[in-house]
């Protein structure tokens, strides 16, 4: 589905990624773990076209997407739920969700039934259903995070990039976010997941990559990584 080969990217003079390769097969959940500054968010941004890679290839369903504009990539079916809950604060929850489907209406992919998908998305996120007429900016942090995820799902995407979906959420909501990720997975949604709770991410994922200073140091089946003593010591910590 998504294939990254020898990707290099950075900001201005600072190179962050030094040639990383990642495969996300259709219907699978792949997670990217690593410490702060390792390049997880940069990878996500490069894939969705928010920054332009300086070298390497990124393909979505065998079509090269590196160097394309973000809106073109979105039309091809790649949804990005960015770090830090970037919702449209002055629009209602419903409008935020409908906008999530916007790239479908202008691209070459099937348009589908937006109204029906809206209902389905609200079923998936009951908290949002209660608040669908509220302005997104007035939602609590956890609800905004759910909105960002629901908006990504509204694209009927081929693949969803989830960047730190549980950041800043109460423990009870962290559980709910992971439940939703499980739920999406069971519906066959392909996902690339970046998470601070590496242990939980490896539980839900099929496959994992460990990023260290912009390079992939280890990768393998999620279950295997979870038991890898080096990974355990460096990223899983105690408990969560």
């Amino acid at each position: 589905m998504l294939s990254i080969k020898n990707l290099e990217a950075g900001y201005g003079k600072v190179q962050v990624l030094h040639g990383i390769s990642i495969e996300v097969p259709k219907g699978k959940v792949v997670t990217l773990i690593g410490s702060n500054g390792a390049g997880k968010t940069t990878t996500m941004r490069a894939v969705s076209g928010m920054i332009k890679p300086t070298a390497g290839e990124i393909s979505l369903s065998d079509k090269r997407i590196d160097g394309m504009e973000s809106y073109t990539i979105a039309k091809l079916g790649l949804a990005h739920s960015p770090e830090g809950r970037r919702v449209f604060a002055t629009m209602t929850v419903t409008d935020n969700l409908i906008l999530g489907a916007f790239p479908r209406l202008t691209g070459s992919r099937p348009k589908g039934d937006v109204a029906n998908d809206l209902d389905k998305a609200l079923e998936l996120f009951p908290r949002l259903k209660e608040r669908r007429t509220q302005l997104a900016g007035t939602l609590s942090g956890g609800e905004q995070q759910m909105l960002a995820m629901a908006r990504a799902v509204m694209l009927n995407p081929e693949i969803v990039l989830l960047d730190e979906p549980s950041m800043g959420l109460a423990p009870i909501l962290v559980e709910e976010v992971f439940r939703i990720i499980e739920d999406l997975k069971s519906r066959g949604v392909t996902m690339l997941l970046v998470e601070q709770f590496a242990a939980a991410a490896l539980k839900v994922a099929d496959y994992g990559y460990v990023l260290e200073n912009g390079r992939i140091s280890v990768h393998g089946d999620a279950a295997k990584l979870r038991d890898d003593p080096a990974v355990k010591a460096a990223y899983l910590g105690g408990g969560h």
Partner: protein
């Protein structure tokens, strides 16, 4: 300023000083003089536009105030030069304060409109108040006398040059001092500035006043240079030209101001003559083509992105040779060139060149060399009086419309402890932080900190009395380096005023050196020593949070509020954070910690309060709270660690 730019600066000014010796043509002397006068104004305008990030369309008006102060003082009173120059600066600075008043209330396009109206009113006033200004007739001002001798063109030129150099040095010193950092901080994040004890209100006014002072000086010199002033000069077009000059030359750069001034004076004149225009267009095409080639070879841009500007300038050059007469096309070409620069060089010419030749690695700034040997701990000790109540909040109510974000909450925090504040998202924790730091004024209730009420006081006042904070959504000053961010927090350690800054008095030098030393110490404390000269926006998220802690500690707080410091951190980073929080407590600083990571809360807190829907539902030792049924149901959930 490093030695290389100092030398090139001296050579440049020596060439400028020698200009009158090469040409006796008064036309060129006058033109260079005008450029220098505009440059003085642009130095000041750049403070407002480049550093504080406010748009001013009122600077032609201020320029006019300067000119007319000089004109009227000479015409009515026959005042001498040494009276007129300070008077022009002073009067215009006063008008600058007037212009700053709207700037405190409105921002963005609204501010632009208000300053535009200000400029227009000034022009109309000059026109109408003919008892003072002679109205549309204008005032004749001969060249000034110095020591009883009337200055000729050359002597006046040198005087302007001398004042240009003085202005340059003064502006440069102001902008590199704590004042300049305060201006830049306003732009980066007003909320954070206030919470670092740098009053947004006060420093916006300062910026406008200083900026207006330079406009006044420039206006005064302009009156002498033209020898005749009339209201029409200070119109809308001039104000737009000034703004364009700052943007085209390059924000936040003195060289940019000089370049910008040169462009707005010379370019229209070059376009008067077809031969000249051909030379300019060809040179431009060559420059852009070479610059583009370098940029592409350095992988800074793609050939596709460079194609249009390169082809465009080549087409312009071709067009110049096809043209038979330029008179009809002059204004269109001028407009086109400006459009081109503004569109393609958004960082201005200086910014573009800087990007082109920028070295890899950290940018030059303060040398990150600390004096060898053992240094004092950079954190102030606040241990006195441990165990007493430091913060007492009673019955705090914060109402937004019908929503009670905080509903009758009592919290007492003992000195020297770490007090956790947890609860579901939207339960009012961050609102509580904002109430404690004066961002919100509570609807009801009392908050006493160290025996004094904080209700109704401004954020910067509260910050200076000893409450520092970090922000849930990081509020760093992005364009400033890590060290400069911390130095903004150290703003309160400066006692030197603008005169100290301009003259680099021993007092200022001592304070600046001390702030670098302590700033580096604080950065080291949070483990970012090797990133001190990196721009804050380039740091990864987790390190930005640590930098915020260092900046907050710079305030020498007694109480530190940490709003979700562990959000977005991975397990090993969290361990490091816990160590840092404990070390902060060991210095006697009291901490209030909002956090969702239970391992952090349970690991460091002495007491924990739990909020839900704005109300306190539990309080006590971490273990008690963790076992509380209500807390598990509302917040922790079944399987939480």
């Amino acid at each position: 300023m490093n030695s290389k730019s100092l030398i090139s600066g001296i050579v440049g000014f020596a060439l400028l000083a020698a200009a009158p010796l090469y040409t006796s043509n008064p036309y060129y002397i006058h033109m260079i003089g005008t450029i220098m006068i505009y440059a003085i104004l642009l130095f000041g305008l750049d403070i407002v536009v480049g550093y504080t990030g406010q748009v001013s369309l009122g600077h032609a008006g201020l320029f006019g105030v300067g000119s007319y102060t000089a004109g009227v003082l000479f015409f009515k009173l026959g005042a001498p030069l040494w009276v007129i120059i300070p008077a022009s600066i002073g009067v215009t600075a006063g008008f600058g304060a007037l212009l700053a008043l709207p700037a405190l209330r409105v921002t963005g396009p609204y501010l632009a409109m208000v300053t535009l109206a200000f400029g227009t009113i000034i022009q109309i006033l000059i026109n109408e108040m003919d008892f003072l200004t002679e109205g549309p007739l204008g005032i004749k001002v001969p060249k000034p006398s110095l020591g009883g001798v009337q200055l000729n063109e050359h002597a006046f030129y040198w005087m302007v040059l001398a004042l240009l150099v003085v202005s340059l040095v003064v502006v440069d010193r102001i902008l590199k001092s704590q004042l300049g950092r305060a201006f830049e901080a306003l732009r980066g994040s007003p909320v954070a500035s206030d919470c670092m004890g740098v009053s947004v209100y006060r420093y916006k006014v300062y910026a406008f006043v200083i900026s207006a002072g330079f406009a006044g000086l420039a206006g005064c010199l302009y009156a002498y240079s033209e020898q005749y002033i009339s209201p029409n000069t200070y119109n809308f077009e001039l104000t737009v030209l000034f703004l364009l000059a700052v943007i085209m030359g390059g924000r936040k750069s003195r060289v940019g101001s000089l370049l910008g001034a040169a462009i707005i004076v010379i370019l229209p004149k070059l376009l008067d003559d077809l031969e000249m225009f051909r030379i300019v267009a060809s040179t431009l095409a060559v420059l852009i083509a070479v610059g583009g080639a370098i940029a592409v070879s350095k992988k800074m841009t793609t050939p596709k992105a460079m194609a249009l500007p390169v082809l465009g300038t080549i087409a312009l050059a071709g067009f110049s040779f096809w043209l038979q007469s330029i008179t009809d096309w002059r204004l269109s070409i001028f407009g086109l060139m400006i459009l081109f620069v503004v569109y393609y060089l958004q960082d201005g010419i200086v910014g573009f060149v800087r990007n082109l030749f920028a070295r890899k690695g950290p940018r030059a700034g303060h040398a990150v060399v600390r004096t060898a040997g053992e240094h004092k701990d950079a954190i102030m000790n606040a241990a006195a009086g441990a165990g007493q109540d430091l913060l007492i909040a009673k019955g705090v109510l914060m109402q937004f419309g019908g929503l009670k974000a905080i509903n009758q909450v009592d919290i007492t925090v003992k000195r020297g402890t770490i007090h956790g504040l947890i609860g579901p998202n939207g339960s009012g924790k961050s609102t509580m932080m904002n109430v404690l730091t004066g961002i919100y004024v509570p609807t009801a209730g009392s908050i006493e900190f160290s025996g004094r009420s904080v209700v109704g006081r401004t954020s910067s006042d509260i910050a200076l009395s000893g409450i520092a904070r970090t922000f849930q959504n990081v509020q760093l000053f992005g364009e400033m380096t890590a060290l400069q961010n911390v130095q903004v927090g150290l703003h309160h350690t400066f006692g030197s005023n603008i005169v100290d800054v301009a003259l680099h008095t021993p007092r200022y030098n001592r304070e600046e050196a001390a702030s670098v030393e302590r700033g580096l110490g604080l950065i080291e404390f949070v483990g970012l020593a090797d990133l001190a000269n990196e721009e804050a926006r380039n740091l990864p998220y987790g390190k930005q949070r640590l930098l915020e802690i260092a900046r907050a500690l710079a305030l020498d707080p007694q109480l530190l509020l940490l709003d979700e410091p562990a959000a977005g951190l991975t397990a090993p980073d969290i361990k490091e954070l816990i160590t840092i929080i404990r070390k902060i407590r060991d210095h006697g600083i009291t901490v209030i910690l909002i956090e969702h990571h239970m391992d952090v809360v349970m690991g460091v807190c002495d007491n924990v309060s739990v909020l839900d829907f704005g109300q306190k539902i539990a309080e006590g030792k971490p273990a008690e709270v963790q076992a509380n049924e209500k807390v598990i149901e509302a917040y922790l959930g079944g399987t939480a660690a």
